[in-house]
Amino acid sequence: MKQKITGAEALMRSLEAEGVDVIFGYPGGAIMPTYDALYDHRKTLNHILVRHEQGAAHAAQGYARVSGRVGVVLATSGPGAMNTITGIADAMIDSTPMVVVCGQVGAAMLGTDAFQEVDVIGVTQPITKWAYQIRRAEDVAWAVSRAFYIARSGRPGPVVLDFARNAQTGLVDYEPAKVDFIRSYRPVPVPSDETIQQAADLINQSERPLVLVGQGVELGDAREELRLFLERGGMPAGCTLLGLSALPTDHPLNMGMLGMHGNLGPNVMTNRCDLLIAVGMRFDDRVTGNLDTYARQAKVIHFDIDPSEINKNVTVDVAVVGDCKQTLARVTALMQERRHDAWVEGFAPYRKQETEKVIEPAIHPQEGPLLMGEVVRRVSEATEHRAVLVTDVGQNQMFGCRYFQFSEGRSVVTSGGCGTMGFGLPAAIGATFGAPDRTVCLFVGDGGLQMTIQELGTIMEQGAPVKIILLNNNFLGNVRQWQYLFFNKRYSFTPMLNPDYEGIAKSYGIPSRTVTEREDLDDAIREMLVTPGAFLLQCAVKEEDNVLPMTPPGANVDEMMLEIEN
């Protein structure tokens, strides 16, 4: 006779069956039976105790983004679950696979306003791919398998399992479950040969194609397919924020970053190309600017796995709905070998102009205070452009993404669609678990660091080797920039009194150094990188620096400001 086990134990076995090796979590009343079961699985399920459940969610995101695996979060009911909400919403908009298991009051008490009862399903339904309440131990194996299948398949995203206490303690004849089919869910549509031919025809006829590379290329593990596609067609490309490492920075067809603070060339050329080919990106307003004037002259091909992205913001001529690893290869096979030398060279003057006006002054300043741009580029060089870039949100993020360079895939961890301050530190911790062999560099502002600063405790306890580069400008810099530009320089609550960050690092046993002078920067970076484990490098950067170029909100994509007039 089979031995009955508890629902909590069934959860452990189900997680192991899914190949889970790391869990980010925080215990509490309604999830205690599960934590008790976890105690016997500590060897296989490495539980990382965070200091706040928001940290667990972002750490799971960081883990997932660098590894391509599903991040797992464990939290208690009510306040514990609510603290994960920001990370869930962030994972939803940035298509990050994640499973959040949170405790819930027993089924008999549901709906009675019991202690620490919150309608977690009601709250999370709009920000998850799937949210399910497990009310019986019998459902655990099925629900967990279904959760992982949904989280990782198709367009990835977060799933919430609301685990009622009675289902954790109830006994069940455990049978492993394997869900890999849901009849109402078609994760990977397959486009017809006719569609593939239409896309290839448009590409073969095009004289001025421009490819927009999004995170879908990374999610679909299609970097190689993308490279062959670009090279066969001789097509220049721009990358979105989340797609930056889908194509090596130094690839001759990589024209740089798209978007509000992206590079001049790909933005201007968006309104000059005759064919716009979007791959795994969703035409976010931070990329398109004013939609009414966006690429109106061009035909548009959209490769995406999610049918609901097609024609959402930009009307397309050909939609290639499917897994871009396959669809890119299928289209490439029908493409003529082409070069568009004159068109590609047309980007050069913009690159030159931007380099002279913006990039050089940002990364090689001759005088004045330290700049964020030079710190970022110096760290990128010192890690031979092979490190994982994690950023928080704000100017640190934009400078980080503009001036870091990439040679490997899955190397950008940043909060794109949500722009969540406080994302960086915990996401970087997660990244060290997801990519233990890589150097993880976090660029974070003085504002954002303080939003999840408690996770220094997690770093201390785990010895997580996060290289924290604090770009301290004594301002909520990004908001200050907007106040400068659009609100008459009225700095309403953006200057900020800062604590002694080195003192804080010391309390957590994290070695640190502060740089104020340019001549010390290289040595400080060297020290940071040779010091084993975590390190806090505080850079006292220019207080009122601005991220340029910039497409003002609502302006046309090719109307980038290269400088700010006083």
């Binding site: 339904q125 709009p126 009849r183 109402s184 097609i310 024609n311």
Partner: protein
């Protein structure tokens, strides 16, 4: 852009919370639901939703795609009235003494194809099936006579005129993909 009256026919698994997810899509895109009917469909375990709204065709397309994206939704399609057989119904509770005073009432009811399904000394019940406009016409005429005690109109229900059963086809296709 031109807005039109659309009827959406949506099929989902019979799981808790799906109605919420479907209506939330309308709320997010700021489209008002004019009427809503939910019931079990002819396929065991499958629920059918009939939802009407006013919007542009682009929006109708977007809404159905975003609804179909929900994991447990099987299919979502939008239709114009000419593609559907449609039924709506209403019940009008009227005061029997006032009806007896006014011979116009039963004449109007008959003229509009209504049916009196209950008569007692206090009230009578008029039932009418038809399209929204016919129902509202009957109601407003009766209401002008001041005899109406209560009025309720059902949501629309609809089946397609097409000879093709898309849900069956979809389910068959998916079953073939089951490993």
């Amino acid at each position: 852009m031109e807005t039109k009256f659309y009827t959406m026919l949506i099929y989902s698994e019979n799981f808790a919370g799906i109605l919420n997810q479907i209506t939330a899509v309308f709320t997010r895109r700021q489209v008002n639901i004019e009427s809503l009917n939910v019931c079990a469909s002819s396929t065991p375990g499958v629920h059918k939703y009939t939802i009407t709204c006013n919007c542009t065709e682009e929006m109708a397309k977007m809404l159905t795609k975003q609804i179909e994206k929900k994991i447990d939704v099987l299919q979502a399609h939008y239709f114009t009235d000419d593609e559907l057989f449609i039924l709506e119904a209403c019940l009008i509770k009227v005061s029997t003494p006032l009806v007896l005073e006014n011979p116009d009432v039963s004449r109007i009811v008959r003229l509009h194809g209504g049916r009196i399904v209950e008569v007692n000394p206090t009230y009578s019940i008029v039932e009418k099936k038809g399209m929204t406009k016919d129902i509202l016409d009957l109601f407003s005429e009766l209401n002008q006579l001041g005899v109406v005690l209560q009025f309720v109109r059902s949501g629309r229900i609809a089946v397609t005129k097409s000879t093709e059963e898309r849900l069956d086809k979809y389910l068959e296709e998916m079953e073939r993909m089951r490993k």
